[in-house]
Symmetry: C2
Subunit: 428 residues, 2 copies
């Protein structure tokens, strides 16, 4: 009998879904894979809390170490979230030679190299398909199927909360505040939405995608990130008139000097495949010289899709256990250069509130030119005191764009730089 | 040194791309994966033919068995195509304990169970990521990442030639003949396009997708397939007016009585994610209770994308060789029922050339009704002798639709059933 005992750390939304699947679909999984996956131990924070699944209460403990150390547990699933005690428990399992399946992107982005080294030393897999893109198979395709591709760029919509908010703003003219409130009432956004709307969640996922795509470990500390909090109805409207939509993008790119990883809301041409990704859906777009363009899209969060991705990892790890061989790491991270965001070429859309005096555009254009930023297009709306200038620049180093912005803020007839949104499109 | 000797059977477009990649990217692959992939032997049909790659001529032979039997060859890549001698060589390699990587969908669809059994017996992998969807990672996600999902339906655009032709017809009003000629001149269609336009290529891929999605082997002989040769400009125009586009779909579906696998051109609502897949691009759309909807899209053919997919398999198989363990099959096929196409519920669009006599619609509606097929919508164009009726039915068994069609053909004022295209959309 090919039985593998499974220990769970955590039993919240994702953990609860996974437990139900392990129990209810036990026979179907065995028929399809030949594996008898047995739930042996579950650690929860609160023993009294009502659960969405029914299992023998003797399996439940409040002590995560008891799960990891249980000799019947041969494979550990970590769905506690957070950095500790999750990190300590993952290391403890790996060091005991037990494969670990986790969806904890924050932990991986923070301590990836240490955890992967522990897995390699123990010769067991550390799998994390659900850490990016929820139910979308993306980790395995990127790190295994595309192992032979010299990937050039990965662009992802990897945060469902912000994509829901931006979709509501773009399609229904909602304000940021109203769209956020709606996302919260639908359960797409947490009471404290900072990690989502501020771009931190996307930054952790961007770091993981970049590391897999380029084999160079990109720590979260190297990821520039900016959130969507400042995107206004006016920006959405102008984006649309200019042929763009605004999306929060996680970008990992191989540049001449090394790898760039960054997250910010960006204007994307409406014809780009990622521009069509609506609501809480996630998507990852991969570019390479041989595969050209690949798009993966699907549910980026939620208990059930995420549990499917984790179940795939559990089946994979269980097979490795039964094969009995030492597992070589599926991807190696070699030292590589990371490019500071300031030296990456970006393209800006800038909205300026100006006094409509003769010469103000000349002054603004002069400020861009003085910093070697050339202007692609200018639109003016309104006249007199209420005029607005919308400027889209050509590509120039981020640092130059910022210097130009500072110079523009010093021009007397410029009342304010109302907003800046980067533009991701082929530079013509 | 983690060296794995590779033998190639075939060196055409895909094989040539793969050989170039193995040579030129040898160092990059080693840095990323730790594997030293060494090309040891290449079998070609014609020793005199000019090649796109440069390798030591001593490596080249006209005898495929010499490649398979070479003791330095530990892994065999089959890119000869066709059923024989490819089938014999794949079996010979597997029986010698050598993993095989192939893109030969015709061979797999024809002899899958026998080949997989040989691989299982030898404890070595038989990998075929490139057999469906070219460069799109789809085999591995379907068979591994989604192993824990109770997949309900897989719909694919898996033939680039026909999608190119249908896209030109839909977007530019081209006739079928002109679009086919253009596809041939661009190299998207072969001089004899029968396997592509007739649906046979898509049927082999549908059989493979169905087998992986449902774990029930669906032989090619069980796949109903119909090609795109009869799709006319008029059908395209009417599809568009009704809110649809026409795509050649490979459908694998779990129904009450078993699994249905079928290929035909179908009207798809313009808002469906697959309706946006244009030109030679391929895409696979997967539906399941937990993952909801997943979309994979990318280049479905071509030497370079296909070589990337095969290289991913080569890297995977090389790792297995070095791990030294017996490999359990990643998916098991259990006996399962296949549903005959005649009993599957389909929805038809029927275009009739009729004499515009009072009562003809009543007769046509009566014929549908007599076979329990209810009508969803009717459109009439023209008057007098030249009238055309466009009818879209609700879901009814394919057999009933066909019987209704035969009855309609017998109505005196119906000059002809000009075309029938099935409709894939939620039935309202």
């Amino acid at each position: 009998m090919k039985t593998v005992g499974i220990g769970m750390l955590g039993a919240g939304i994702v953990g609860g879904s996974l437990i139900r699947r392990l129990v209810e679909e036990h026979a179907a999984i065995e028929a399809k894979t030949g594996l008898d996956l047995e739930l042996r131990r579950v650690a929860v924070r609160d023993l009294e809390k009502a659960r969405s699944f029914e299992i023998d209460s003797a399996l439940i403990t409040a002590d995560p170490a008891a799960v990891v150390d249980d000799p019947d547990v041969r494979l550990v699933v970590e769905v506690m979230g957070g950095l500790e005690p999750a990190g300590e428990m993952v290391l403890r399992a790996l060091r005991a030679g037990k494969p670990v399946v986790t969806a904890n992107k924050a932990l991986l982005a923070e301590r990836g190299p240490e955890l992967f080294a522990a897995a390699e030393e123990a010769g067991v897999p550390l799998l994390f398909e659900a850490a990016v893109g929820g139910g979308i198979p993306i980790i395995r395709p990127l790190s295994e199927t595309l192992a032979g591709e010299q990937i050039e760029r990965v662009i992802g919509i990897v945060n469902g909360t912000t994509n829901f908010i931006l979709s509501r703003m773009a399609e229904d003219g909602a304000t940021y505040a109203d769209a956020l409130a709606e996302a919260q009432s639908l359960g797409y956004a947490e009471a404290d939405p900072a990690a989502d709307v501020g771009g931190g969640d996307a930054a952790a996922k961007a770091a993981i995608l970049a590391s897999l795509a380029f084999g160079t470990w990109a720590g979260i500390e190297n990821v520039f990130h900016e959130g969507i909090e400042k995107i206004s109805k006016a920006d959405m409207k102008w984006a649309s008139e200019l042929g763009y939509t605004i999306k929060l993008l996680a970008i990992a790119e191989r540049l001449d000097g090394g790898v760039s990883v960054r997250v910010y809301p960006a204007m994307l041409p409406k014809a780009h495949p990622l521009a069509t990704i609506r609501g809480a859906t996630n998507a990852v777009f991969i570019e390479g010289p041989s595969i050209e363009e690949l798009l993966f899209a699907g549910p980026g969060a939620g208990g059930e899709p995420t549990a499917t991705a984790m179940l795939g990892d559990v089946i994979d790890a269980a097979r490795e256990i039964l094969a009995g061989a030492e597992v070589a790491p599926r991807i190696r991270f070699s030292p590589g250069e990371l490019v500071a965001f300031e030296s990456v070429d970006t393209k800006w859309y800038v909205r300026l509130e100006v006094d409509d005096q003769p010469g103000v555009l000349a002054q603004v254009a002069g400020a861009f030119g003085a910093h070697d930023v050339s202007i692609k297009s200018v639109l003016q709306e309104g006249r007199g005191e209420d005029a607005t200038l919308m400027i889209v620049t050509h590509l120039a180093p981020e640092a130059s764009q910022r210097e130009a912005r500072r110079a523009i803020e010093g021009i007397e007839n410029v009342r304010s730089v109302a907003s800046v949104v980067r533009v991701e499109s082929p530079d013509v």
